[in-house]
């Protein structure tokens, strides 16, 4: 579809949803993201990104069952769509091309 590539945060969330598989809803997505990136993110920020990704067609979602510790509120499960998977691959390749030939340890000139 578009030539749009996912941003850093979008990539991170797409990857987390992918890793979590069947259990990808708000709470574990956030736990995993915080665990893997070492940064804390607010629920509002995560959901804003999730919704944006869904609108772009990289994620899709379905409502699950409510539970008592959630105050009777349903979960919203996310899965990565084919477009989403393609966009992740695409950005990975772009990054790889950009990194090609650069020694990670070498400092840029003028720094």
């Amino acid at each position: 579809m578009s030539h749009d590539l996912p941003s850093d945060v979008e990539q991170q969330i797409l990857l987390v949803v992918w890793r979590l598989g069947d259990d990808a809803y708000g709470v574990p997505i956030r736990d995993e993201l915080e665990h893997l990136t070492g940064r804390s993110v607010s629920a509002g920020a995560i959901y804003t990104t999730l919704v944006r990704l869904e609108r772009k067609g990289w994620l899709q979602s379905s409502m699950g069952a409510p539970s008592p510790e959630r105050g009777g509120k349903a979960k919203r499960f996310f899965t990565v769509t084919a477009d989403g998977a393609w966009a992740l691959q695409e950005s990975r390749e772009v990054m790889a091309r950009l990194w090609d030939g650069i020694e990670a340890a070498a400092a840029p000139k003028g720094a």
């Binding site: 509002g44 959901y47 919704v51 979960k75």
Partner: protein, 901 residues
């Protein structure tokens, strides 16, 4: 079971911030996290984390993004709009807090300016509210009317008890009840010492007519006001019970010794019930009218009762007024038929149509209007400051605004954000102003004011005062934030973002508008200062008027013979004469004199005379003469010259021939070109005992300092004694000490001797100068406040201009301009604004001064000193305010200035 749900308030806020299926998922997630945090870290951490999530700004955009994703589940577009608006306002407020906290200097000055503008408004409004607007206390005021008699001079006067009875008989059908009341003073014994109180003598149905219920006990029963002198009972005010009776719960049945006689307390009036005769003044208690033989022996015939009627249910107010008019005509015809030439007019005034009293309303409203106008102008000056600051900031924040616009915010969003900011400034200023104002007003009423009645105004945080202040703050924030917000939201995005370019045109127009605002401020300040100058001039004129008597140091002491337990003058006079002799024997005392009424005091005594050979004034069938009673040495001691005839002498005893001394104005008006000495006056009530005029005294100011000479008559104390004399005592020690000596000697003659008012001549005259002094002080203070505020405004404009023109200054200095050139350039700019403002202010003052003429003693003709002095003062202060930023400009380092920007 323990409630492990997140805090209810936070849940509610969250539910307002998110909606739909996404909302449900977010609420569920946060609830689950809360549940887990509670188990892992305890309720405190869980709650804190939950709140943080709920208040997170990131939630704000979620709804609008999710709307296209999930079909709105039954929610109408309007409710989503409202929710959107709510979350936006919420975000705006948070943002405003951050922005305002980022520049604390600006925020503090803006808030302080507003507080200084709003404070005086709150102070004056709360006083006007407590005295005028709250009016007398009574339930259902729409069916209450007061009834007054028209006097010769066109003012409305109190009436005698015969009229109360006549209204009850002949107009009773339109009233459910007709009550009468009169405010008086007495003494209550506290631990054996008589202490003064203010009370109202009221008919038994007074509280029923006003439909007021007692806070404790009961009000008067019918039989307690039927027979003269038989029921010594009292209803005390809530405040009196609290402060003077120790708030004791068994107050009902307690005994008070009033004027030497025991009275039983039967009830306590509700809190906030002040008085009928003087709204705003707290009456200490209410006593039944029929106790007049003890409290006020002359009462039934005395024409000083206020009358209040409760219009009967089912009767139109207009019908009641017409009935009273009809009664008035009938009484007038009856009197004319009996040969009277006096016109008689009685009229009913609905409570809803007046503030206090039909004749007093106009002057009181005029004073209130003057003060409210003055403080409104101060607020206007403060608001202009706010607008100026906001304009300056709007210029500084163009880039921020442009970025927001470029990122998709609408101009409405930007304006809303800026208005939220200015409104928050307004409300913060209002909150401080409210405290400031109430504190000032309360401090003012607690001052020992030279007033005849203690001012006891209840200045609580009235809802009206709160509403007024909040209204003024919102108006200040919205009205004066609007222009800057409009200006900012119209920023041409592309130009601002491209940088530079803009700062030239944008800055110019900002300075132009701000300059105009400063000119307006200066003009308003000049007008207020000139007005203050006029009032100071008026005060000076008042102090220079010769009252016609010796105002040198003296003690002025009132003796209340009735409150001291004397039954009448026969009992009182011997003790009084003893006191005078004892005082004269003291080496520190040089002279002792006494009078029934001091010149320049409240109260009046009137006698009616037929004068052979002199026709009474138009519309009257006799002469109504104000009179006074004085002891023999009065004219000598008060230094009032006798211009014809002689003073009172030993021969003018009680059993001697009745004699009188008249004022020069009376002699000249009644017997022009002839001598008044030897003429006789026939008392209308007692024509068998003619009074002979034996002398003419120089005119003395009786009521106030501005009055023309009045017809006035003096009788010797021996022939016309009173149990309530005022002594004027002079001596070789300080007047305060003389006052103490009088009290000591009084106690030696009779330990019960009650002296309710011990003051100095200076203090006594303070009362007559109170109004001009208060006007000069208040208006002068407010004018200086306005000047201070507009100087802050000028300083702000000049500093801002200097900051904007740093580069220009740098160029000038690097091209060889000396620092004084730069200073001159900047100061000239500031002074130019001040000159324009001063000129506009002087023109405005000349136009406005005639509106002040009524308030001023000695006319409103402008004192050249004021007219020149005020602009000079303004220019001096303005020059100083411009000089400080100018000095900063002259120290600009040209290299840095050119590199900056």
């Amino acid at each position: 079971m323990m409630d492990v749900r997140p805090p209810a308030l936070a849940r509610w806020i969250l539910s307002r911030r998110v909606s739909g299926l996404i909302g449900e998922a977010v609420e569920g997630d946060l609830a689950e996290r809360y549940h887990r945090d509670r188990l892992d870290h305890g309720p405190l951490v869980a709650r804190r984390n939950y709140w943080r999530e709920v208040l997170s700004p990131a939630l704000s955009n979620l709804d609008s993004q999710a709307r296209s994703l999930d079909p709105a589940p039954g929610g109408s577009p309007r409710s989503t709009n409202r929710e959107y608006f709510m979350t936006s306002i919420f975000r705006d407020i948070k943002h405003a807090f951050r922005v305002l906290a980022k520049s604390p200097g600006f925020t503090a000055i803006a808030i302080l300016s507003l507080a200084l503008g709003i404070g005086p408004n709150t102070a004056i409004f709360s006083m006007v509210n407590a005295t005028l607007l709250n009016g007398p206390d009574g339930e259902n005021p729409e069916t209450l009317v007061d009834m007054y008699n028209l006097g010769d001079d066109g003012d409305w006067y109190f009436s005698g008890f015969w009229l109360v009875e006549r209204i009850r008989e002949d107009a009773g059908s339109v009233f459910d009840g007709v009550a009468a009341w009169v405010g008086m003073g007495a003494a209550v014994e506290e631990d054996g010492v008589p202490r003064p109180i203010v009370y109202e003598l009221v008919t038994g149905n007074f509280f029923d007519v006003l439909q007021v219920n007692p806070a404790m006990g009961r009000f008067f029963a019918p039989e307690e006001d039927e027979t003269p002198g038989t029921h010594p009972v009292a209803v005390v005010s809530h405040g009196y019970w609290q402060s003077r009776m120790g708030a004791t719960p068994d107050v009902v049945g307690a005994e008070l010794r009033i004027n030497g006689r025991p009275y039983t307390v039967i009830g306590v009036a509700p809190k906030g019930f002040t008085s009928k005769s003087l709204p705003g003044v707290q009456s200490d208690m209410w006593l039944p009218y029929n106790m007049y033989p003890h409290l006020a022996p002359g009462q039934p015939g005395n024409g000083n009762l206020g009358i209040t009627g409760r219009v009967a249910e089912g009767v139109e107010i207009a019908q009641a007024l017409a009935t009273v008019d009809g009664l008035s005509t009938r009484i007038d015809e009856e009197r004319k038929a009996r040969g009277s030439e006096d016109d008689f007019v009685l009229r009913a005034f609905p409570w809803t149509d007046m503030y206090m009293h039909p004749s007093m309303d106009r002057p009181l409203v005029a004073i209130a209007a003057l003060l409210l106008t003055v403080v409104a102008l101060v607020l206007l000056v403060a608001c202009i400051n706010l607008a100026g600051f906001l304009l300056a900031r709007a210029t500084d924040r163009r880039r921020e605004v442009a970025v927001r616009l470029a990122m998709g915010a609408t101009r409405g969003d930007v304006m809303r954000q800026l208005l939220v900011e200015s409104t928050m400034l307004g409300l913060a200023g209002g909150a401080i102003g409210l405290g400031l104002g109430l504190w000032t007003a309360r401090a003012f009423t607690r001052l020992d004011l030279p007033l005849p009645i203690p001012m006891n105004v209840d200045l609580g945080l009235d809802p009206a005062v709160l509403l007024f202040t909040v209204g003024a703050s919102l108006l200040a924030g919205v009205a004066f934030g609007l222009t800057p917000a409009l200006q900012a939201s119209r920023a041409p995005v592309a130009a601002v973002l491209r940088d530079e370019g803009l700062s030239v045109t944008g800055t110019r127009s900002g300075i132009g508008l701000r300059g105009a605002l400063v000119v307006g401020q200066m003009a308003l300040s000049v007008m207020l200062l000139v007005a203050a100058g006029l009032f100071i001039q008026s005060l000076r004129a008042a102090t220079q008027i010769d009252p016609g008597f010796d105002t040198g140091p003296a003690a002025v002491v009132a003796i209340d013979g009735g409150a001291s337990g004397y039954e009448g003058t026969e009992q009182f006079v011997p003790d009084f004469e003893q006191l005078v002799r004892n005082l004269e024997a003291r080496p520190e005392i040089s002279s002792v004199t006494a009078t029934g009424r001091l010149p320049l005091d409240l109260g009046v005594s009137v006698v009616f005379y037929d004068i052979p050979g002199v026709a009474p004034p138009e519309g009257r069938d006799n002469h109504r003469i104000e009179f006074n009673t004085v002891t023999m040495n009065y004219f000598e001691t008060m230094d009032v010259p006798i211009v014809d005839g002689r003073v009172f002498e030993e021969q003018d005893r009680a059993d001697g021939a009745p004699v009188a001394i008249v004022s020069r104005a009376m002699a000249e008006q009644l017997w022009p070109g002839e001598s008044a000495v030897g003429r006789t006056l026939l008392p209308t009530r007692d024509p068998e005992n003619p009074v002979t005029i034996i002398g003419v005294a120089e005119d003395v100011k009786i009521w106030n300092l501005e009055e023309p000479p009045r017809q006035y008559l003096y009788r010797p104390y021996a022939q016309s004694p009173t149990t309530y004399p005022r002594m004027i005592v002079r001596g070789t020690v300080a007047p305060e000490r003389i006052g103490q000596i009088v009290v000591e000697e009084g106690k030696r003659v009779n330990p019960q001797m009650f002296m309710p008012d011990v003051k100095t001549m200076e203090g006594h005259l303070g009362y007559i100068l109170f109004m001009p002094r208060m006007a000069a002080t208040l208006i002068g203070g407010f004018a200086l406040l306005a000047l201070l505020l507009s100087v802050i405004g000028l300083y702000g404009v000049v500093s801002f201009g200097v900051a904007r023109r740093t580069r220009e200054m740098g160029v000038r200095i690097s091209l060889g301009a000396r620092s004084q050139d730069v200073v001159g350039l900047v100061v000239r700019g500031g002074v130019k604004l001040a000159v324009l403002g001063a000129a506009a202010g002087v023109i405005g003052s000349l136009a406005a001064s005639r509106f002040l003429a009524d308030y001023l003693i000695g006319g409103s003709s402008m004192d050249p000193l004021t007219l020149v002095g005020v602009p000079v003062l303004l220019l001096a202060v303005a020059g100083l305010a411009a000089y400080m930023p100018a000095r900063r400009a002259s120290r600009v380092n040209p290299i840095e200035a050119l590199r900056a920007d």
